[in-house]
């Protein structure tokens, strides 16, 4: 008789049925994937970032392959808040999955306006994207701890929804950034967003991306992400949503051992449509094999030398 495994996890005030959440920007609003996946099986979906006004995004090319990863410079293409509220959110609500809504802005006021608009909706978590590397002001918020504190606190005042603050790894100290989010009233930090990178076509003597630079994701960034998750886990008293190159259930276990309460899967979705359902099945199997009755027991259990 096989062991019954509890995959559910607690992230601040939120209970997720399992730790596998789709990472913002790699899953749209879930519409495309519903054709080949039962969305309700996921721990949740962090839906594509929404801005106050519609954004067309950057000109192509928007992606470049790298060793074990890829650069992207989509540039927060989205239909804007009004269209989102009228069309995308009702769809997500009817689909019945745990909704994390990523929001992005150029100013503190943008974030406040977006959070106010989401406060009385079915959105279960608001994720503040303070870290998009592909827009003009994206990094300026996430790279300065006082700004992280200010924008988080401003949003905290207008909503009772759980707040996840998504941080950029393009900083000197990820722990300081996470501490600022905690002081601003965050319920968790999501880390890491993509690492700023450059790909070059030597024949044309041009960057491959029209935006010149882009964000690096995929297994290439996993060691950096694990180190940052563990650093924050050891120094800041705040739940962590871990991400960066997760492709397998083993990767999820590593992130949880490093200190992540749940994880987000991004790039893997682009390579394998069934990546997340497969990871969830494998998590259950691995826990059974290892006699782990509750997956959440593993959080932070990494033993440093």
């Amino acid at each position: 008789m096989s062991l019954s495994v509890d995959l559910s996890v607690q992230v601040g005030p939120s209970r997720l049925k399992n730790p596998v959440v789709a990472a913002s920007g790699t899953f749209g609003f879930g519409r495309e994937a519903q054709a080949f996946m039962d969305l309700k099986r996921l721990g949740g979906i962090s839906a594509k970032a929404v801005t106050v006004e519609p954004r067309l995004g950057n000109l192509p090319p928007r992606t470049a392959e790298t060793a074990s990863g890829l650069l992207n410079s989509v540039g927060l293409q989205n239909p804007g808040l009004q269209h989102y509220l009228a069309h995308e959110l009702p769809f997500m609500q009817s689909a019945g999955f745990f909704i994390v809504q990523n929001i992005a802005g150029d100013t503190v006021e943008d974030y406040v306006q977006l959070a106010e608009a989401l406060d009385q909706t079915a959105v279960q978590v608001i994720e503040l994207n303070l870290s998009c590397p592909n827009v003009k002001h994206g990094l300026s918020f996430g790279a300065k701890p006082p700004l992280i504190r200010e924008v988080t606190a401003a949003v905290r005042k207008v909503t009772t929804k759980p707040l996840w603050v998504k941080l950029t790894p393009n900083v000197t100290s990820i722990a300081e950034a996470a501490q600022a989010a905690r002081e601003g009233g965050a319920d968790a930090v999501s880390l890491i967003n993509t690492l700023l990178g450059l790909a070059i076509d030597w024949r044309s003597r041009r960057p491959i991306l029209h935006n010149n630079t882009g964000g690096l994701s995929g297994p290439a960034v996993k060691p950096v992400a694990l180190r940052m998750v563990n650093e924050v886990y050891r120094t800041v008293d705040l739940p962590i949503v871990g991400m960066g190159g997760i492709m397998t259930a083993e990767d999820v276990l590593e992130f949880m051992l490093a200190g992540a309460s749940c994880v987000q899967v991004g790039t893997a979705n682009l390579l394998h449509p069934q990546a997340m359902p497969q990871i969830i099945r494998d998590l259950e199997r691995l826990c059974q094999e290892q006699g782990i009755a509750r997956l959440s027991q593993l959080v932070g259990q990494l033993q440093l030398w």
Binding site: G25, G28, A35, F36, L56, T63
Partner: protein, 311 residues
């Protein structure tokens, strides 16, 4: 119902015209990724290969203009327009032009190699329907499908021409190459072109000297010219499809517009997923006077030419 070879239909009769409906194709099977196997791979010329893959599910449902995204030795998959389908044998074929490590790896495939196939992906060509077009044009002539292509863009045109022939259309093609030794699949195209195949080479070593645009310009409709010189008979409905480098697409769009032929172009862009998630393969499309960024992999790769090249 148009003249359709019954063997081309799925047992339930579905699948034939899915790609011609409006809006993104829905994956009805609930599956997108298939374990497939290389049947054969052979070289067509110095930089071009022909890869046959056993993948019955994709072979059954794939429409002309749709593509597959294939696993390879590199991190990302590689997208290829489907060039030929043998539904009875469950085999699809693609043309590979060597570009980098991914295409080189796939071109080196041996029979029996396991591949992961995502597909069929995207919105394909809308082919003319002989019954309705004949009535509307009043010419009594079956409609003509004219395909213009160059580079790796010629491969999906072969599938489209083949399918159009099966459905009772007349077919013609204009294909451009750098030189005589780069010409591939000429006999395959000739076999599916009822109304002639025109080749163009940049150096004039075979066919028309110049580009596809040059060759198209010489395809003027001249009443009284012997058959073969004429792209269309008087009053015949003509549909143009084009796939290849952007300047070639623009030339095909402009040529078609001046003759009031509807034209569809198939776009290429660097992409990651191929099934609508990542939004990296954006292209600028003009609809109702507004610019939108649509996905080559999901709303495309085939668009109406006037949406890509507005006046």
């Amino acid at each position: 119902m148009t003249q359709v070879n019954q063997s081309q239909l799925r047992p339930d009769g579905a699948g034939l015209n899915q790609a011609t409906g409006s809006g993104p194709l829905k994956a009805t099977s609930g599956q997108l990724e298939y374990a497939a196997e290389v049947v054969s791979c052979h070289q067509l010329n110095a930089g071009t290969y022909w890869l046959q893959i056993y993948c019955p599910a994709v072979a059954l449902s794939c429409q002309p203009g749709q593509f597959v995204n294939l696993s390879c030795s590199q991190f990302l998959r590689r997208p290829f327009g489907v060039a030929q389908v043998d539904r009875a044998a469950g085999i699809i074929a693609i043309g590979i032009q060597l570009k980098g490590q991914g295409s080189a790896d796939l071109a080196a495939s041996r029979p029996g190699r396991a591949l992961s196939v995502l597909g069929p992906l995207g919105q394909g060509f809308t082919l003319p329907q002989p019954g309705t077009e004949q009535l509307s044009s009043g010419s009594g002539q079956p409609p003509l499908l004219l395909a213009a292509g160059g580079g790796s863009g010629l491969f999906p045109l072969l599938f489209a021409l083949h399918e159009a022939r099966l459905q009772g259309c007349r077919t013609a093609a204009v294909l451009g190459f750098r030189s005589r030794d780069r010409v591939v699949l000429a006999d395959s195209f000739r076999a599916v072109c009822s109304d002639g195949l025109t080749l163009a080479t940049d150096d004039g070593s075979l066919g028309v000297r110049g580009t596809v645009a040059t060759a198209l310009a010489q395809l003027e409709l001249l009443p009284g010219e012997p058959e073969g010189q004429n792209v269309a008979r008087a009053g015949q409905a003509v549909t143009v499809i084009a796939c290849g480098p952007k300047p070639m697409l623009a030339a095909a769009a402009s040529w078609s517009r001046s003759r009031q032929y509807p034209c569809q172009v198939s776009l290429e862009e660097r992409m990651a997923c191929g099934f609508g998630l990542c939004r990296t393969c954006a292209c600028q499309i003009t609809r109702e006077g507004r610019t939108e960024m649509l996905r080559v992999c999901y709303e495309g790769p085939v668009f109406n030419a006037e949406e890509v090249f507005p006046e």
